[in-house]
C-alpha cells in the first residue's frame, strides 16, 4: 500500500469510529448548520462532539499548518479526507466565515501575532465571525464604502453603518472594511478586526423573504479599535478584501453541488410522483428537466474538484472563483426551482410539522440570494469578461 492508501484506510476507520450517526444524515435546514462561537449552548451534544473531535485533529481546517490549529495535510491528503467524508455522508463539522474567508486572508496578510491569536480559535470553532463589507451605498460598487476609521494615535475610532451583515447579531467578531483616506477610492480602504462586544456596536435584524432574519444592519458609533487589529498595511485593505472575496466566492460556489440539501431532489421527486410501468418518473417533462439538471450538476461537481486541485497546485486563474460562484449559484437556484416543482402543493406549506416548518420553500427563497451575496452574478460575469477573456472596457 502506498502512503496515501494507508492514509485513506486510517482516515476512513477514524471517521467511522468518531463521526456520530446523527452527523451522517443530510442537513435538513439552515438551523442544522454548526457555526461555532462563544455561545455553544445552541449546539446539540452530537454537533459539539463531532466539531471538537475534528478540531482536535486539525481537520476542521485540514490544510492549514498545524501551528495554527490545522491538520497540516497535503493537497492529496485533504482530497482523500473530503472524499472519505462524502463517502460516509459525514457532515461538515463546522461552517464558518472564519474558515472560509478570514482564515485564508490572515494566512496571507496577517502578522504572526494575529495568526496565533485568531487562527487556532477559528479552527476550534470558538469565535464566530461576521463580514462587514457592504454599506447602503456600497453594494456592487464596494469600494464606495464610507464607514470611517480615524487614527487616534493608539487606536482607531470607527463610525458608520454596514448593511446585510450576515449573522451580525450572533457573531463574536467582525472583519470590517473601513475608510482611512477619503481622498482616494480603493487606495483609501483598510481592513480591521474587532470584537462585536465593543462599546458603540449595535445591530438591527433585516427580515428576509424566507421569513428568517439572519441579516443585519450594523452601526458603529465611536467604536475604539486597537491598532494591532489592522490587517496588512494602512490604506492597503482593498488587496486583503479582494483576496478574501475570492475565497468567499469559492465557498458560495459549493452550493452548486447540492450537498447542503442532502441530494434529495431525485428521492423527493420519486416519492412524490411515483414511477411508471417502465420504472421512469411519471411526469416525463419534469423527468427530462431533472435529468438535464443532473448532467450539469455532476459536471459542476467535476469542475469543483478540478478547481480545488488547480487551486492547491497554484494553477488556477485568480479570477476563476468568479466563474465557480456564478455557475454554482445559478445551478443551486435552478435545483431549488425543480424541487419546488416536484413537491407541488406540499412544498408550499410554510409552517406545518410535515414540511419541517416549511424547510423547502424557505430554502428555495434563500437560494435566490445566492446570485446576489458575495457579489452578484452580473458582477462575476464582468470579472470573467475583463480578467479572463480580457474584453475591452
Amino acid at each position: 500500500m502506498s502512503d496515501l492508501d494507508t492514509f485513506r484506510a486510517e482516515t476512513r476507520a477514524w471517521l467511522e469510529a468518531n463521526c456520530p450517526a446523527s452527523m451522517r444524515e443530510p442537513v435538513r435546514s439552515e438551523k442544522d448548520t454548526v457555526w461555532g462561537g462563544r455561545d455553544q449552548s445552541a449546539l446539540t451534544p452530537d454537533q459539539k462532539t463531532w466539531m471538537d473531535r475534528m478540531a482536535a485533529r486539525g481537520w476542521t481546517v485540514p490544510d492549514w499548518p498545524k501551528a495554527y490549529g490545522g491538520g497540516g495535510l497535503s493537497p492529496a491528503e485533504s482530497k482523500i479526507l473530503r472524499e472519505e467524508m462524502r463517502a460516509l455522508g459525514c457532515r461538515n463539522p463546522l461552517s464558518s466565515f472564519g474558515i472560509s474567508m478570514l482564515g485564508p486572508a490572515l494566512l496571507k496578510y496577517g502578522n504572526e501575532e494575529q495568526k496565533l491569536e485568531h487562527l487556532p480559535r477559528i479552527a476550534r470553532g470558538e469565535i464566530r465571525w461576521c463580514q462587514g463589507y457592504s454599506e447602503p451605498n456600497a453594494g456592487s460598487d464596494l469600494a464606495a464604502l464610507a464607514t470611517s476609521a480615524e487614527d487616534m494615535g493608539d487606536h482607531f475610532l470607527v463610525n458608520g453603518q454596514k448593511v446585510w451583515t450576515s449573522y451580525a447579531d450572533k457573531a463574536d467578531w467582525i472583519f470590517c472594511l473601513v475608510r482611512t483616506d477619503k481622498s482616494v477610492k480603493q487606495a483609501g480602504i483598510s481592513f480591521l478586526l474587532f470584537d462585536m462586544a465593543s462599546p458603540g456596536v449595535s445591530t438591527k435584524p433585516i427580515l428576509l423573504i424566507s421569513g428568517y432574519s439572519p441579516f443585519c444592519e450594523t452601526f458603529f458609533d465611536d467604536v475604539k479599535v486597537p491598532k494591532a487589529n489592522l490587517v496588512g498595511e494602512l490604506n492597503k485593505g482593498w488587496d486583503v478584501a479582494k483576496y478574501l472575496l475570492g475565497h468567499e466566492r469559492e465557498m458560495i460556489s459549493g452550493m452548486g453541488l447540492g450537498l447542503s440539501s442532502g441530494g434529495t431532489l431525485i428521492g423527493n421527486t420519486v416519492a412524490q410522483m411515483g414511477l411508471d410501468a417502465d420504472g421512469r418518473l411519471a411526469d416525463p417533462l419534469l423527468r427530462g428537466q431533472i435529468a438535464l439538471h443532473e448532467v450539469r450538476a455532476r459536471a459542476f461537481a467535476a469542475m469543483s474538484e478540478r478547481f480545488l486541485d488547480e487551486l492547491k497546485a497554484g494553477r488556477a486563474h485568480p479570477a476563476q472563483p468568479s466563474m465557480m460562484k456564478y455557475y454554482g449559484t445559478e445551478l443551486n437556484k435552478a435545483r431549488h426551482e425543480l424541487e419546488m416543482a416536484a413537491g407541488g402543493s406540499d412544498s408550499l406549506e410554510w409552517e406545518s410539522e410535515a414540511s419541517n416548518n416549511g424547510a423547502a420553500p424557505r430554502a428555495w427563497l434563500r437560494t435566490k440570494a445566492n446570485s446576489i451575496e458575495g457579489g452578484t452574478s452580473e458582477v462575476q460575469l464582468n470579472i470573467i469578461a475583463k480578467r479572463i477573456l480580457e474584453l475591452p472596457s
Binding site: 493537497p75 492529496a76 431525485i266 421527486t269 420519486v270 414511477l275 420504472g279 421512469r280 418518473l281 423527468r287 427530462g288 431533472i290 435529468a291 438535464l292 443532473e294 448532467v295 450539469r296 455532476r298 459536471a299 459542476f300 467535476a302 469542475m303 474538484e305 478540478r306 478547481f307 486541485d309 488547480e310 492547491k312 497546485a313 494553477r315 466563474m323 456564478y326 455557475y327 452580473e378 462575476q380 460575469l381 464582468n382 470573467i384 469578461a385 475583463k386 479572463i388 477573456l389 480580457e390 474584453l391 475591452p392 472596457s393
Partner: protein, 375 residues
C-alpha cells in the same frame, strides 16, 4: 489523481496543438470540401498521424503502441475538433482500437492502424437517433455467420478497410445478451456502402448487409456476449466525441472572443458592450464545466472505475450542451459575416451538430443517467 493534465499530457497537448494546427487547420478541411473530395479525409495526413505516434495512443505497448489512455486520446481529439480536421482518428484509433484490444483480431488490424494505413468504421446505429437497441441479424451459417440488415451514420464507411459491426445473434433488440460484434473486412460480398455528404461536408454511409458471410473468427469477443465489447467501444467513442466537441466549442469561442476585440460599431469595439461580455463570460463558464466533466470521464475510464459509465454520459451530454451554445453564440456575435461561407465560424456550427448526434445526444445521455439513478 488531480483533475488536470500532468506534465507528460501537457507536452502531448502542445505537440498535438502544433501538429494539427499546422498540418490540418480549418483551411485543410475547406480545401477538401471545395475539391468535393470523395474520401472525406487525407490519407497522407493519416500517415502523418501515425508518424507522430498518435494512432497508437490506445494500443498497448505489447502490441507496438504507446499504451496510453483516454486522457491522451482526448488531447489529440480536442485539437482535431478545434481545427475541424477531417480524420479517421476517433473511429479507428479510439473506438475500433478499444473494441479490438485484447481480441484475436488485434494482430491482424493493429499493425495497419499503427502505420496509418488502415481505417476502421463503426456500423452501430440503425436509426436516425443513436440508441442502445441492436436489431440487425447475424445467423449461424456453416462455420461462420450470415449478416443481414442495415446501418447508418457509418463515418468513413465507404473507404474503411474494416467495419466493426454490432449484430444480434439471439434475443430481442433491447436485450443486453445476444449481441455479437464482428470485424468485417471491406469488399466482403453482399456489403454495400452508400456514402452521403453530411451538413459538415464529412461523409457517412448507409451500409447494407445482404447475406454477408463471415468466418467465425470475425467475431470480436464472445458470441452473444458482445455487449461488453460494445460498451467499451461506445464508452471510448462517446468520451472521444465529447473531447472533439470541446475542441469545436473552444475553437468557436476563441474565434468569437477574438472578433469581439477587433470589430468596431458605434465607434467602439463591440467587446466593450456588456450585453455581449456577459454572454461570452457565460459561454466560458459552460465550456469550463464541460471540460472538467470530460476530463473526469477520461480519468475514470483509464482507471477502470465502475463510475465511468455515468461520467461518460455526463461528459457527452455536457460537452454537447456547451459546444452547441458556443457555435450558436459564435455565429450570432459575428453578425452577418458569421452567415457567410467565406468565414469559418459557420463550419463550427455544422461540425458541432454532427458531433452532438454522434454516439447519442444530450437528451439520450441525460436519459441514461436517469435510468442509472432509478428514475
Amino acid at each position: 489523481m488531480p483533475l488536470y493534465l500532468n506534465d507528460e499530457q501537457t507536452m502531448l497537448r502542445d505537440a498535438a496543438q502544433q501538429f494539427v494546427g499546422e498540418a490540418a487547420p480549418v483551411s485543410h478541411m475547406r480545401a477538401l470540401r471545395d475539391a468535393d473530395d470523395a474520401t472525406g479525409f487525407s490519407r497522407d495526413l493519416w500517415k502523418q498521424f501515425a508518424e507522430m505516434g498518435f494512432t497508437g495512443i490506445l494500443i498497448p505497448e505489447s502490441d507496438g503502441g504507446l499504451g496510453l489512455g483516454h486522457v491522451e486520446a482526448g488531447v489529440v481529439l480536442e485539437e482535431i475538433g478545434r481545427n475541424l480536421s477531417p480524420s479517421p482518428f476517433l473511429a479507428t484509433a479510439v473506438a475500433a482500437v478499444e473494441a479490438l484490444k485484447g481480441s484475436a483480431q488485434r494482430e491482424r488490424w493493429f499493425p495497419g492502424i499503427l502505420a496509418g494505413e488502415t481505417v476502421a468504421a463503426l456500423a452501430i446505429d440503425e436509426k436516425a437517433k443513436h440508441g442502445n437497441a441492436i436489431g440487425m441479424k447475424a445467423e449461424r451459417s456453416g462455420n461462420g455467420f450470415r449478416l443481414s440488415g442495415a446501418k447508418q451514420f457509418v463515418t468513413h464507411g465507404h473507404v474503411a478497410d474494416l467495419l466493426i459491426v454490432a449484430a444480434r445473434t439471439a434475443g430481442a433488440p433491447e436485450d443486453d445478451a445476444g449481441v455479437t460484434l464482428f470485424a468485417v473486412p471491406k469488399d466482403t460480398a453482399g456489403l454495400t456502402a452508400d456514402p452521403q455528404r453530411l451538413a459538415d461536408s464529412s461523409l457517412a454511409s448507409r451500409v447494407t448487409f445482404e447475406n454477408v458471410e463471415v468466418d467465425a473468427d470475425a467475431v470480436i469477443g464472445e458470441v452473444d456476449g458482445g455487449r461488453a465489447v460494445l460498451d467499451a467501444l461506445l464508452a471510448a467513442g462517446r468520451t472521444g466525441a465529447a473531447a472533439e466537441s470541446l475542441g469545436v466549442g473552444g475553437g468557436a469561442m476563441d474565434m468569437t472572443v477574438q472578433y469581439l476585440k477587433e470589430r468596431k460599431q458605434f465607434g467602439v469595439l463591440i467587446g466593450s458592450f456588456q450585453a455581449l461580455q456577459h454572454r461570452a463570460a457565460h459561454l466560458y463558464a459552460e465550456l469550463e464545466v464541460a471540460r472538467a466533466a470530460v476530463l473526469k470521464a477520461q480519468q475514470l475510464l483509464d482507471a477502470g472505475d465502475a463510475r465511468a459509465a455515468e461520467a461518460v454520459s455526463v461528459a457527452k451530454a455536457m460537452a454537447g450542451l456547451a459546444s452547441t451554445l458556443a457555435v450558436q453564440e459564435g455565429v450570432q456575435m459575428h453578425g452577418g459575416i458569421g452567415m457567410t461561407d467565406e468565414f469559418d465560424i459557420g463550419f463550427y456550427m455544422k461540425r458541432g451538430r454532427v458531433l452532438a448526434e454522434m454516439f447519442g445526444d444530450a437528451n439520450f445521455h441525460a436519459d441514461q443517467l436517469a435510468r442509472a439513478s432509478g428514475y
